[in-house]
Subunit: 459 residues, 2 copies
């Protein structure tokens, strides 16, 4: 065994303990009451990155801080690789559905349960540990390294693009590595080649000034909740296609060979359905489940609120109704253009008697990788070594908006090697990360530097 | 002037002073801390009814007591009339919005401001005073009289129906008189001839077991919030008619002359709209605003809840979606039958991939008066004499469930002659009753007995 392998094996328990410390910090970026926790989390991460041998700085933003760690010891002629991750996490509600407290990590059945375990603290921290292992054993890395951790990924990375643009010279690199995604199946390493973008809206309807008595007014005053339902019902046709005019105009056709490879992946609809607990699958006619998630854009309701929602009956005609609605986008749909289509469509179908506002809450561009180049090849070999199996090329229905920003601003290829797994509840109660993947992911991250440096010194 | 007229004029000031005493008792039935006040209020009312010449009893219930006053001196061959009212009042919060303390009655601009002034202490007590006037001047009434005052109207009259059923023989009567509603306009006496019923449902949709990431699953899993919107959107057609099959089958046509009379009432849509604050009115095509509220059944969304409803964006595909939905009913629609239609319709339009449950939360029957008979005619004449103007026939979009109970259990016609006015704030801060209507209402109540006895002995 190499010194590197030995180091990884020897310090495995400590790596996990440190991750648990990281997970105990409730860094919920969407909640203003957690602002101090985000600061504390950034400071904790900065200290750990510093201890790993990186030179660290914290960059305040109008939102939550960005933590930067750098090691420039490979010299100006060596390539520079930027590792990106995020230390903020999703809200935890509904809390009562968690089997263990979200910020008290607990291992059950080989899974590390905690908010942020897989999204993205575990996947970010394994890179810090892989870098530590190289610097501790060899005193160097084959490339210059930048680790960039932000605290606003779950709220739209509002301040990241500006930071990357402002620091473009400092962040100049030959490739970007991100682990914030899932493997296709347990034991099957995967390289993620496409991400959907996002256009997220809040639709607010206002009818009467206050909630009215549904007896004294019902039937003569337009009901905002019913009007909202009728608006939302126009968003799809009977075949599950989005019916907002112009919605598909910018969609680029998928390459036939990639689409063919997707169809060869062993995917079991019945298993997928059982995993969700839904009584049937559904979606746009003419596409398989994986294609619906990876290759096709969507329009979903994320939340609804109106009137009386407590126990029992209250006969109000609500004053207001609200829907959170978001579209997942594929190349070359753009969030701004989709926002224009959405606003125009809603204005056209909204009835008289309600005031309707469509607010864009955030947006992200879709992305598709070039499946070639030194970084891509090194990633493929590193994953093969860690898992003993060649990675497959997969897509992802979710969004990592920064991928598009990195590709655009830094002009560098992006390698997405994720260590999550299907069913990990990334944005739901009982989020978990496979303990095995935390260990093998750390190894793969360590091998990646070797492969970038010209191959293994011996595994 | 008759002795009766003289008595009413002579004692007007005392009648008002006694009402003020009644109003000073904070008989808020919804608040357990007021339980003793309800008891005190019932005792006060019992004493006053006794002093007026009625034989009184107090009937304890699992909630607040029922006060009964009887005068059976007209003999077995004379008709018996039951007067119903309630001595409990709504809560007073928000207290800071009252211009004078809710339990310190104060007259401003000809209005008696106090909680319970119009709903229903003033309208109940004027009947007690009218009976007193008859017994004090003539020593008798032309009918046997029962006054039934409950203390739980504002909390659903939970114990009234059981009491009426248990005491059906004692309460047997030829007519019921209730003053607990409003006149169409100042100076315009009104007989309320219809009430809408209610069928209240909760519709629950369950899709995936937990909230899913809308990126990782969106497009392939049926979205319960979107499915709910699509179900709700089937409840009406483009003309605002309820599109649930069979919904109108049991609707009894409105008598053409009553409908024609409603259309002659001076109703200002622009004023009504301004009062609601809505940007336009709406509803079922082909009906006026008053008809939509009084004569037509509705289907309204009272509440919506699904997924993420907090600040900002959260990309969940919700596990569940809930709507509170209620139908206002008109004769001869029945809540149970409407429930069957609702369940059948929802089951038919619900998509695969969601489990749908329709739960009936609450129901009440609609009611329509027969606009004929001795009681109705006597009421019309009494109001004409008191106001110098013929009463109009009005409807009410809300429900007074006890009306249906009296009609059902006692099999007697119900006369609703109300002395409230639009804008009286019955359930809001600054509740008031017109001082003039308290005086004229007492007179109308007094004339009612004369008219039932065969007409005025001379006004």
């Amino acid at each position: 065994m190499s010194a590197l392998s030995t180091y990884l094996a020897t310090h495995q328990q400590r790596f996990r303990d440190e991750l648990f410390e990281f997970l105990r910090i409730p860094s919920v970026s969407a909640r203003s009451e957690h602002a101090a926790d985000l600061q504390a989390c950034a400071a904790w991460l900065r200290d750990k990155m510093q201890a790993a041998g990186l030179t660290t700085t914290i960059h305040e933003t109008p939102g939550h801080p960005i933590v930067l760690g750098e090691w420039r010891g490979a010299g100006a002629s060596a390539p520079t690789i930027l590792v990106y991750g995020h230390y903020d996490v999703q809200p935890v509600e509904p809390l009562e559905l968690w089997d263990s407290p979200p910020f008290e990590p607990e291992i059950r059945d080989g899974r590390i349960y905690a908010r942020g375990s897989v999204d993205d603290k575990g996947q970010l921290y394994l890179h810090v540990k892989a870098i530590e292992a190289h610097l501790a054993t060899a005193g160097r890395l084959p490339c210059n390294v930048i680790v960039l951790a932000e605290g606003e990924e779950e709220v739209g990375s509002d301040n990241l693009a500006a930071f990357v643009e402002a620091q473009a010279a400092r962040l100049a690199c030959d490739g970007v590595v991100i682990s914030d995604s899932a493997m296709f199946a347990p034991g099957q390493p995967s390289i993620l080649s496409s991400l959907r973008g996002l256009a997220y809206f809040q639709i607010d309807l206002e009818g009467p000034t206050v909630d009215l008595h549904s007896g004294s007014y019902g039937g003569a005053v337009v009901n905002p909740a019913m009007a909202l339902a009728r608006i939302l019902a126009t968003f799809h046709d009977a075949d599950g296609r989005v019916a907002i005019p112009g919605f598909y105009d910018a969609v680029r056709e998928w390459e036939p060979d990639v689409r063919a490879q997707i169809r060869t992946l062993p995917f079991d609809d019945a298993h997928f359905q059982a995993e969700t607990g839904a009584s049937a699958l559904g979606g746009e006619a003419g596409w398989t489940t994986l294609e619906r998630i990876w290759c096709r854009p969507t329009c979903e309701v994320n939340g609804l609120l109106s009137g009386y929602t407590g126990e029992g009956a209250k006969t109000v005609l609500p004053s207001r109704a609200m829907a959170k609605v978001s579209c997942r986008l594929v190349p070359d749909q753009a969030p701004g253009a989709i926002g224009d289509l959405m606003r125009r469509h809603v204005a056209r179908v909204a009835p008289a008697g309600v005031r309707v506002t469509v607010t864009e809450l955030h947006g992200g561009n879709p992305w598709r990788a070039r499946l070639e180049g030194a970084l891509f090849d090194a990633g493929r070999r590193a994953l093969q070594r860690a898992y003993g199996k060649a990675p497959v090329i997969v897509g992802e229905g979710g969004s990592i908006p920064v991928v598009h920003d990195f590709a655009r601003v830094l002009g560098a290829p992006v390698l997405l090697m994720g260590f999550g797994l299907p069913g990990e509840n990334a944005h739901a109660p009982n989020e978990w990360m496979s303990e095995e993947n935390y260990v093998k992911g750390t190894a793969a991250a360590a091998w990646l530097w070797e492969e970038l440096g010209g191959g293994a010194s011996g595994a």
